[in-house]
Symmetry: C2
Subunit: 236 residues, 2 copies
């Protein structure tokens, strides 16, 4: 099993992901939100690129849909929720459809449609993601959403954690960038010691969202593995 890494949504190239099993990672905070919402009973998540498209879909049946997401890390006007996973509680999301638009995560998911599978990964479900990848047993590309087209330390260290889990159970072939992600994780297994250098981590910290940071960097608290297919994210 070969495992490669793409360092930002802007660096996705079709030939690198075609036929591969892609894991999209945007731990601060889009994929942490998706995994949490699905785990808390949300029927499906519809990721869309624009605010207008999100509103248009939600207004087809406003009672059934929740509008969530962010621009510049804050809630969008007219939306129900921001991009904080802590808002997506069971009593709120159960049985509903979440229409979501975020700056980086949505772009990474939409940009990966040439892949065979698109799995939604985060620290919170990393172990379940690794298990699923081992079951699929296909070459893997871990797509880091990154931040505004840039490499982001938070996604990279989560990638390293997933690589360490894969390495425990399989003979994986690493590219140089995978080797580097794995190294960063192995030197900083507590996550926090390295993630504190991430510019985006500090943006969210400056917004006072400490509980979000604590939650999004928690390992393996969720077992679901959401998958994107035909415009929708669901879990079996």
């Amino acid at each position: 099993m070969k495992v490669d890494v793409i360092i930002s949504a802007d660096d996705i190239k079709e030939e690198k992901i075609k036929g591969k099993s892609v894991v999209v990672i945007d731990i601060l905070r889009a994929t942490s939100v998706i995994v949490t919402a699905i785990n808390n009973g949300c029927k499906k998540v519809i990721p869309v690129v624009s605010v207008d498209e999100a509103k248009e879909i939600a207004h087809r049946d406003r009672g059934m849909h929740l509008l969530g997401g962010e621009r510049r890390a804050v809630k969008i006007e007219g939306f129900d929720f921001s991009n904080s996973p802590l808002e997506y509680k069971p009593n709120i999301v159960n049985g509903k459809i979440l229409v979501m638009t975020t700056t980086n995560g949505t772009k990474a998911i939409k940009g990966s449609t040439a892949a065979k599978n698109i799995i939604i990964g985060a620290m919170v479900n990393a172990k379940a993601v690794a298990k699923r990848l081992l079951e699929i047993n296909n070459d893997v590309v871990i797509v880091n959403a990154g931040t505004y087209g840039e490499f982001s330390i938070d996604d990279f260290i989560c990638t390293g954690y997933i690589l360490s889990l894969l390495k425990e159970s399989a003979n994986i072939e690493l590219t140089d960038i995978s080797t580097t992600a794995l190294y960063i994780y192995e030197q900083n297994k507590d996550i926090t010691s390295f993630i504190k250098y991430a510019n985006h981590y500090n943006v969210i910290k400056d917004l006072g969202l400490f509980e979000d940071l604590k939650y999004c960097t928690s390992k393996d608290i969720i077992n679901v593995v959401p998958e994107y297919k035909d415009g929708e994210i669901t879990a079996d």
Copy 2:
């Protein structure tokens, strides 16, 4: 001074380098060759993308020109030299013009023409490069040539070394990818302990080129800082 890093020649985006001072790094082995040749008296280096173009230029005055470079890490048919810096000795290169074509390094140089300056960097002249960047005092983008469009550990750790030198003397603002390069270097100052994981390092090792690897990973043995301008690389 902001310092960003681009991880491969295929990932250069004009808007990221426009007006910046770019350092192109391809330590195994194009930029190590260029720095060595210029240091040993070579008048100028003309980097070109194709083998035919290289031959065409050299044949205008065959006595004055040397043909050097590689494809798949080995010498090109009809060329004088391969991509080993150890071949470019003073008695051979002095007063001559080197026409050079390599897989990754040439592409990185040619792809960086939107920059204000294009400096040629390697481990062998890292300290001199850092000094020049501090003199120029412009925002910097360190462009890693990488290997066949991929991130390459060897260029990345050299980037980290240059960052550590800049940090000693200036207040530099790092992106997440710069922070990661700096971290990798600081954890592996001997270079070898980490570079041994690089796929391209092992390709060259498998070709038996141990002396090349030893030379290309030597720090600060050369003081010249070659610069690319209008199709030619020279040093003041």
